[in-house]
Symmetry: C2
Subunit: 333 residues, 2 copies
């Protein structure tokens, strides 16, 4: 039940329902009685309204992230905190690391502090096995759970995601149209977002009738040196590639280091594309073509959606935001 249902059934405006709930005197006794009747009939949920009205709430949102020093997540925390504060909410931050057990522990801790909602920032929170997500579904029975670039189906769970699949599809097709045929794909994690990025790459290859074996897809830690070392090893094994698409700028920075070490010219003989358009993309030489995954828009939408949930208005359970490809000097298109 939300404020719309009450307004519809009582045949009054949403503003009137709001006035009744606020105890505003500019409502006739008759109307007030009608609205209160409907609220009772529909099963009044004091918490939902109370939160929207600023009652029964500590005005504090829990933000969980795996690692606030990660470039993408540091940006996300900055924008989430800013937008929550603009709406009068504090942010309690928890950096959980990557272990499921620790994530669950911090989630329960935040719930026990009676935060008004929890934002799970980044796509590392949704696990492959459904039972490992049960704690999130349980939590959502009490408070809204907001997923920033992650997705989980469930009541009171709201996702805002970047269209990662379309982004890597577009990046891959641009590489192909610029003449590249042997495109290596490096990724850091098989998260929701990670799998979508991989799929975008695979779909583009398939649509352009380019067939590349599994040896063109590699997982790698997000460390610059790890990416460089992996590429040196693949190169020495004789694998041929003329482009490298990556799921993060740090892997792309490693790819540039690899090329520099072997005297391979970028973008003449090798194209490189990063992801997230972080500060790294302006540090490398040449500067890096990278996907702008719109972290600010994701954060603003997440907070706006949450405020909608608190107000009892109808909000979408899933919002998708398009990425941009920012062209710099590591590609020849």
């Amino acid at each position: 039940m939300n404020i719309y249902d009450v307004s519809k059934k009582a045949n009054v405006s949403i503003a009137t329902v709001s006035r009744v709930l606020n105890g505003n005197p500019n409502v006739s006794d008759k109307t007030r009685a009608k609205v209160m009747d409907v609220i009772e009939q529909l099963g009044y949920t004091p918490n939902v309204f109370a939160r929207g009205l600023g009652l029964n709430t500590i005005h504090t949102i829990g933000i969980m992230c795996s690692d606030s020093s990660d470039l993408y997540l540091a940006d996300a925390i900055y924008f989430l905190e800013r937008d929550l504060r603009l709406n009068g909410y504090d942010a309690i931050l928890c950096c959980t690391g990557y272990e499921l057990e620790t994530k669950q522990k911090y989630f329960d801790l935040l719930c026990s502090k009676r935060v008004d909602a929890i934002i799970l920032a980044g796509s590392k929170f949704i696990e492959m096995r459904p039972k490992d997500n049960a704690y999130i579904l349980d939590g959502a029975e009490k408070i809204p759970i907001m997923l920033l670039n992650g997705f989980l189906e469930g009541h009171n769970i709201y996702s805002t995601v970047c269209d990662d699949m379309a982004a890597t599809y577009y990046a891959t097709s641009q590489l192909i149209q610029s003449g590249r045929k042997k495109i290596l794909y490096l990724y850091t994690s098989a998260s929701y977002s990670g799998l979508n990025k991989l799929k975008g790459y695979q779909n583009a290859l398939s649509d352009f009738k380019i067939s590349l074996g599994a040896e063109y897809i590699h997982q790698c830690s997000k460390d610059i040196s790890a990416a460089k070392d992996l590429l040196v090893s693949l190169h020495s094994q004789g694998l041929e590639f003329d482009a490298i698409l990556t799921s993060s700028d740090s892997l792309a920075a490693g790819a540039i280091k690899f090329a520099h070490g072997l005297g391979i010219q970028i973008p003449e003989t090798l194209s490189v594309i990063g992801y997230n358009n972080s500060i790294l993309s302006r540090c490398t030489e040449p500067e890096l073509t990278s996907v702008d995954s719109k972290v600010e828009a994701l954060c603003t939408t997440t907070v706006n959606t949450l405020m909608g949930v608190f107000s009892g208005v109808n909000v979408p359970s899933r919002t998708t935001i398009a990425a941009d490809l920012i062209k710099r000097a590591t590609t020849n298109f």
Copy 2:
């Protein structure tokens, strides 16, 4: 008054005072009476003890930073949150921006929420005019104020700082000993830390009897392109320099871009040194020699000092941590 004073005056151990305050039954009635008498004589401060005992506290620390997406501050927030949580404290984060008015507003907001302490992360909080710091001194009358890489003299204010002056002194002297004579200094801010860095550079020049004019010192926004553009402009004006020391890695990244654009060889004809040893230092080509300003140690010390304050033990009001110079490929020593 702290737990030491009580222990000394009552002529019992600190453990005994602690047991009395904890209501531990393993204390004789006589000893208990003696300790309570002393506490009363010295002017019992229930808050200080209560916080140490986990009473009258919300176990929440406010962290203020100007911008959590800044590479240095993102790391600081990560380590502070981790260490506070290890001690059973939550962290409420406020990103204040750079305006004094906003900083004061957020500071008052955190105080009004009855946080147990406030950590001011980064050196951007201490202003040049004493009256602009009055709100911090006022706040310190109620709760401990912790400064991470900032310094302000005052009761209940505790600073943990990196020895920035020694770090730039050492970096400058290494440049001189490697044969550099015309060392440009670029910095972002005239904060407490910023002024110390500048002084270290100036002291080293002076001790080595190198005299350089004011045209060798420039302030610049932390943007990579801004630093590059500034250097292009100085170079075109005919200023000669064979080394660039900077107060942050992003300025140093701009210096490398400048050199690359004009075909100046690094480190053969130009040395570059950054500051903070951030991920940028591994992204540039060549990789950047940079000062490791020990952010993790600063955070751990800040939290340990705070826990000491809560326990009523004697803690230093100022702790200084030495930096390291991490040598990579932009210097020839």
